[in-house]
């Protein structure tokens, strides 16, 4: 379990452009942080920094757990559940094959309850090429649940979802925080978790 994730004087440079600098924040277990900002402000870059795909131009990200403190990107990646703006689905594979693949890749057992939670139980044997944008998003959410990671990094979690889907996402996020998880979400909509927000 992770007790907190802290950014210290974080800076990010993409090409010649300095997206942000001297960024400080801290998210403790059970809390959520909404990252807000105009298009191109660096929300996705910040998430990629936290995930360890990008190296920060300055500063560091520290993860505190009962085992101690660490700012190692590779180690941090092992506790991150990722919901990017791309869905990462293969058109040829069925919904359940897709979910099983990622669950096993993450060393977890997949179970059908995750599909039910996102309202995809009836589409289980459908190849992903027949899914709508919203259904693809729901499957990506089921995959996030299956990864059973403590830190969720969400890029536009409400995108493409209908009203009931957005309610489900809000419920899942509330439950994740209730179980002591951490959520950092780049979003234009309020998360509705009584969370703090970070303006880029």
């Amino acid at each position: 379990m992770i007790s907190s994730l802290t950014a210290e004087k974080l800076a990010c440079v993409r090409g010649d452009k300095r997206l942000f600098e001297a960024l400080n924040f801290r998210v403790s277990a059970g809390q959520a942080l909404a990252v807000e900002g105009a298009n191109g402000a660096g929300k996705t870059s910040l998430l990629r920094l936290i995930a360890g795909f990008l190296a920060p131009a300055a500063g560091r990200i520290v993860v505190k757990s009962p085992q101690g403190e660490s700012d190692d990107a590779e180690e941090r990646g092992k506790s991150i559940g990722w919901l990017g703006h791309l869905d990462g689905l293969k058109p040829q594979l069925t919904v359940v094959e897709q979910l099983n693949f990622f669950a096993h890749l993450y060393g977890k057992a997949a179970d059908a309850a995750q599909l039910e939670q996102v309202g995809l139980a009836r589409q289980a044997d459908l190849p992903c090429r027949y899914l709508s944008a919203g259904q693809r998003r729901r499957l990506a959410l089921a995959r996030l649940l299956a990864s059973k990671r403590p830190v969720w990094l969400l890029d536009e979690p409400f995108a493409a979802l209908d009203a009931s889907g957005q309610t489900q996402v809000a419920q899942l996020m509330a439950r994740h925080c209730g179980e002591g998880g951490i959520i950092i979400a780049a979003t234009h909509d309020p998360l509705g978790l009584g969370n703090e927000s970070l303006k880029l």
Partner: protein, 222 residues
Amino acid sequence: MSPFATLFLRDVRLAARSGGSAALALSFFALVATLVPLGVGADLRLLARVAGGILWVAAVLAALLSLDRLFQGDYEDGSLDLIALSPLPLEMTALAKIVAHWLSTGLPLTLLSPVLALLFNLPPSPTLILFVSLLAGTPAVSAVGAIGASLTLSLKRGGLILPLIILPLLAPAVIFGAGAVALALDGLSSGNALGLLAAFAFGAVLLSPFAAAASVRLNLGG
């Protein structure tokens, strides 16, 4: 099931399903091998003489067809981010993809080669050497190809640059592979050529996952 086996099986499944690359590579190999005797003409001695070289080059080019998508498909749809965050180290990810590519492309090409050798009037014992040389050498094609594929994964037209990167690196495999067949045709022992080919393939499979993983890491940050 282990993460390694999971990734390996998914890649094999994707290659075998409709829209996959395995059947495409196999048909390309068969078509090239059929066209050459039509173009060269019915000089049976000449055909047997060039068989090793032509079939080896055709096999490398056929494998190349599917190599550019080795990482690119996963990169473009976002799967590679998720795979990178999994407990499987990127080196093992690259190895799983190399083995899956070989099983879905290199091995079928090898199995088809004795049939195509008939079109070149290649006698039985050089045909056997051709089969063995492809069996030993095609893993090197997948492994070296993985380095090229990881370097070009974020390029839109990476498939065009890929051959320029990896074909020069594959020259040893073609030289030893085709050379072994030529030696067998002359009734000489081709053990040395096959041994060097196997050593080259072994080294390539052992080292290329590290190079490919380093390059994937760079591209994820790009």
